[in-house]
Amino acid sequence: MGEFSKESCPSVKNILLLDSEGKRVAVKYFSDDWPNNSSKLTFEKSIFTKTLKTNARSEAEITLFDGYIVVYKFVHDLHFFVTAGDDENELIIANVLQGFADSVGLLLRGDVEKRTALENLDLILLCIDEIIDGGIILETDANTIAGKVATNAADGSVPFSEQTISQALATAREHFARSLLK
């Protein structure tokens, strides 16, 4: 896990997706600040409790916690968090959160709730993988992220929002078949 000096590159410490009881749906840490699972769980529990009573539904909320800035947003029974160092530009981190929450919304076709998220856990994990690589922001545009995850094709010529998932998968297979035939 590489960490970067603040002068260089905006970096994300972790991305968390928790349920309405603070349990993990999917989490990814990019920093050695939390060396083991129990320190991670402690962090998740405290940030969940701290933010539980706030209203982060229409707009993303933010808090300073334990020397980190945490930007978060709730959709139905899912709680989205993105954590960064306390000298980070808050709006960049908010942008990452927006990309994360919106792309999950696209991938789950608006059915953003714990059960659907778990049923499509592979998509969620791929989604996180497309947003951050080792702490560095890869992409924050929700359509692009969702497109990369669902079509499995980086050159998705039709914007994701304009096709259904099954269409998208079909296009991907087609692309793939074509490339095999060549």
Binding site: N89, I92, E119, D155
Partner: protein, 897 residues
């Protein structure tokens, strides 16, 4: 419809009872991973070995594995290796979805270097695939797991990938480059042509990643960064993220160049200012923040403050937070610049987001002027009830500094603090309030009595033993010096009646302090103390007994009442570690343990005294190594008859080498300082096997040292190869005077040849002498480094009459820090409270020193340093000590140093 894996993920073997039998029952927690077990999933992973791969099923198994990892489950080394090997089989399948999952799990398993080779060829194939998604992901996976060796093999492909026409592939290669840079900088630096091209890319994120990598490869080359900035600020950067990076680099260049050019001309400042008008908010924020962090004029600062002020009324909490946080920082150094925002900040005090509200309040507390304090306090009082403790602490701390700024307003703030004390709150919060009140009492004399009464009321109903004890201790120090000390007695004695034993013991000590310091109260205090003699707790009884006996004069401590008070309540200036070490070596005997013999010297290194107890070096033979404990020296020296009349050893220096390393004879010297004597202990080692030295002495030339006269010399009879011996030379010097001088030394001896094979010594010897280096006795030798725990208290407890202040110009110095350490080492005193550390870029600094001067005179020094001109250092030196003459001497030392 969302794709549902539920049916597939829940295999028969992990069947679960609630599955869609009845819609009503879906209320019960449902999870496709219900009842999942590591063992079972590892079994399922065998499907990866099937000759006919079921891609869909394999994807699901990988998802389950990832689920387990995500929940914190760990695999043993064997399990991980097994899964990894199984996963590698899946490269046979051409199913794109499965391949994605394979990439993901390889990254999670992070295979060890001896396993990596199995997948490298598959990944390298994918890296050159026609499918963009394969290329991009294979690069990211491969770069995550390979080492430098393999990297050189694929370097060519990575360079190609950086300039790939697909932005996703290009970004993947660039981001991987940033990661690889840490372990393999020399390889990544070779890609600079390609990276340069990427920076010019039309794709927003490629530009961002390219810029980040380019800067990282050049960050140690100022000129290159400056060139980079000057070429890019002309406007080819489109992506907001890249723009933010460029702002960071620009402000870095400005910061570094401003130290060179004195004319205040900032080459790229216009660019930063233009970013304040950018359309992306993150760029505006980044620019505004960087400008506020710079050393700019008020006119340059104003536009940045204006955009931040606009953000304060944004509908987005993140934006309001970012703005108020930045303004809060500005308010610390330039409160005036922020006053324009006060109206907006006051609105934010009722913000839903408590972080924002707290930041708004603390900003207001910094920018507020004297007239607005009362109104502000009123608003805060209503706000305090509905925020969490951690925010309250921030507010209390802000109020404390505000009160120090406007001491005339102490009344309303004291009331606020005491009201807060009465409300519900945890320990940390209450402690913050008590600390604040204590600070105010110490800083504002008028606030003392009212503050003490608030504290007294608080301990009447305080659930925290620690705080009660602290307050009682503080009362004991401050209470006796108020106009009417008797009013506090009731509160203190109530503690003796009502509290637990720890608090009772503290209360007894406090009572005793009142008794000792206020003559009029003494008889009444004695009555109260006598009642404590029947307490159920032995510590309470012991303390009461001790105080009664000593204050009454029944047990003699010293000669005067002052001695008694010093004994009971004086600061304990013996470092506990030293006391412990001395007690360990003390052997029960007729002679009582004498605490005054314990070294007062604070040792920076841990005590080396780790020898088994009871294994003491035999008397007369000094310890083999210069043990840090002075009592070892004391013991050794007092066993030498000639020195036994010198009294108590004041200080022993660290050994000073008088010869270069690797010479024929190695000599170092330890300076032992007594009140009116100095003993030089020369430790000599003969490093020539063929020689035996006899009648070894040191001839010390003291012609330059008028104040010193040699009284005794103990030479060495023989000095054999590699067995060190000691020579002692004692001098008499004027008492209590820090006499300094320089000695030149010559080692004199008779050399005899030794036959190394037989060990026989030749009878004929030759007289010879050996020049060793000069030795200096400096002022610092007369000073013990003794720390005080609370410098401020110690300072105030010293007689102001003993204070001597003067100013010195130290001329051009390398830096403030260098000047601080130079003066500290001339005086040989102990820096207190971490004040020896000078913050970088500081223009002024205060350093606090303490020590004990020869004659056991306590000395405290406040050094105020300031920079005038570029490197010119001026210093103000204030000394207080137990003896005004010593204060003068300290000035003489500095003036002559």
């Amino acid at each position: 419809m969302p794709r549902s894996l539920a049916g597939d993920l829940t295999d028969p073997e992990m069947a679960q009872p609630y599955m869609k039998k009845d819609d009503d029952e879906s209320e019960i927690e449902y999870s496709p991973f219900f009842g999942i077990e590591k063992g079972a999933v590892l079994q399922e992973a065998r499907a990866f070995h099937d000759p006919q791969l079921d891609a869909r099923r394999c994807s699901q198994v990988i998802t389950k594995l990832l689920y387990l990892i995500n929940q914190g489950e760990t695999f043993t080394k064997v399990e991980a290796t097994e899964v990894f090997f199984a996963v590698t089989k899946l490269f046979q399948s051409n199913d794109a979805g499965l391949r994605r999952m394979v990439y993901l799990i390889i990254k999670e398993l992070s295979p060890s270097s001896d396993e990596v080779f199995i997948v490298t060829s598959s990944l390298m194939k994918d890296m050159n695939s026609k499918t963009d998604m394969y290329r991009a992901n294979a690069i990211r996976v491969l770069c995550r797991i390979i080492d430098g060796n393999l990297l050189t093999q694929i370097e060519r492909y990575l360079k190609q990938a950086i300039v790939d026409k697909n932005p996703v592939v290009s970004s993947a290669a660039l981001v991987s480059g940033i990661h690889l840079l840490q372990a393999n900088p020399e390889i990544v630096k070779r890609w600079s042509n390609e990276v340069q091209e990427a920076v010019q890319s039309r794709a927003a994120l490629v530009q961002f990643h390219g810029l980040a990598l380019l800067h990282q490869t050049r960050q140690n080359d100022r000129l290159a960064v400056s060139k980079l900035v000057s070429s890019l600020t002309r406007g080819s950067v489109r992506s907001p993220l890249a723009q933010c990076l460029l702002i960071r680099y620009t402000s870095q260049v400005i910061r570094e160049s401003s130290t060179n050019t004195q004319n205040g001309d900032r080459p790229f400042f216009d660019y930063l200012e233009s970013c304040l008008r950018h359309k992306a908010e993150m760029v505006i924020l980044e620019a505004a923040r960087k400008i506020t962090e710079m050393d700019v004029t008020s006119r340059e600062l104003a536009p940045a403050i204006t955009v931040l002020q606009l953000f304060l009324s944004s509908s987005k909490p993140v934006l309001r937070f970012a703005a108020v946080r930045t303004l809060n920082k500005v308010a610390i150094t330039r409160p005036l610049a922020v006053t324009n925002c006060n109206v907006d900040l006051e609105t934010l005090m009722s913000d839903q987001n408590r972080s924002i509200a707290t930041l708004a309040i603390t900003t207001l507390l910094k920018t507020g002027n004297e007239s607005s304090v009362d109104r502000l306090m009123k608003q805060i009082t209503s706000f305090m009830s509905d925020i969490a403790d951690e925010f309250k602490i921030v507010v209390v701390e802000a109020i404390r500094s505000l009160c120090l700024k406007f001491p005339l307003k102490y009344r309303s703030m004291m009331i606020f603090l005491s009201n807060s004390l009465r409300e519900e709150g945890g320990f940390e919060y209450k402690k913050a309030i008590v600390d604040a009140i204590v600070t105010l009492i110490s800083a504002i004399p008028d606030a003392k009595e009212i503050g003490l009464l608030h504290l007294c009321e608080f301990i009447e109903d305080c659930e925290f033993t620690y705080l009660s004890s602290q307050i009682l201790h503080f009362l004991g120090n401050e209470g006796p010096r108020t106009s009417d000390p008797s009013r506090y007695i009731r509160y203190i004695y109530n503690r003796v009646i009502l509290e637990n034993s720890t608090v009772r013991a503290s209360a007894v000590s406090t009572l005793a302090k009142f008794g000792a310091l206020v003559e009029g109260l003494k008889p009444r205090i004695f009555v109260l103390l006598r009642r404590c003699l029947f307490d159920t707790d032995d510590e309470v009884r012991d303390r009461a007994t001790l105080y009664l006996q000593t204050l009454n004069g029944e047990v003699a401590v010293g000669n005067t009442e002052k001695d008694v008070n010093e004994f009971l309540f004086g600061s304990f200036d013996v470092p506990l570690a030293n006391l412990e070490a001395s007690l360990r070596t003390y052997e029960p005997s007729e002679e009582p343990f004498d605490i005054s013999l314990v070294s007062r010297e604070a040792k920076s290194q841990p005590l080396q005294d780790k020898k088994a107890p009871g294994k003491k070096p035999p008397a007369g033979v000094p310890p083999p190594a210069p043990v840090s404990a002075v009592d070892a020296y004391q013991k050794m020296l007092s066993s030498i008859a000639e020195f036994s009349g010198f009294g108590r050893l004041f200080k022993s220096s660290e050994p000073v080498e008088l010869t270069e390393a690797e010479t024929e004879y190695a000599v170092n010297v330890v300076k032992h300082i007594y009140e009116s004597h100095v003993v030089l202990q020369y430790n000599c080692t003969n490093t020539i096997p063929e020689q035996l030295l006899q009648d070894v002495t040191v001839y010390v030339d003291a012609t330059d040292a008028e104040e010193f006269s040699e009284v005794c010399l103990k030479s060495l009879k023989t000095l054999a190869y590699d067995s060190p011996g000691q020579i002692f030379v004692a001098f008499e010097k004027p008492g209590r005077v820090p006499a300094t001088c320089k000695f030149s030394n010559v080692l004199k001896f008779t050399v005899k040849e030794v036959d190394t094979s037989s060990g026989e010594v030749d009878d004929d010897g030759v007289e010879d002498e050996y020049q060793i280096e000069d030795l200096e006795i400096v002022s610092a030798d007369y000073m013990l480094r003794v720390a005080v725990s609370n410098f401020r208290n110690a300072w105030e407890n010293m007689d102001p009459e003993s204070e001597r202040v003067d100013e010195y110009g130290l001329g051009v110095r390398e830096s403030l820090a260098e000047a601080v350490s130079a003066v500290t080492s001339i005086l040989g005193m102990q820096p207190c409270e971490g004040t020896e550390v000078v913050p970088s870029n500081a223009r002024s600094h205060v350093c606090l020193l303490s020590g004990v001067f020869i004659g056991d005179v306590k000395v405290l020094v406040r050094l105020s340093f300031g920079l005038s001109g570029p490197k010119e250092v001026a210093m103000k030196l204030a000394v207080r000590s137990d003896d005004p003459e010593v204060s003068d001497k300290i000035h003489e030392i500095v003036a002559s140093g």
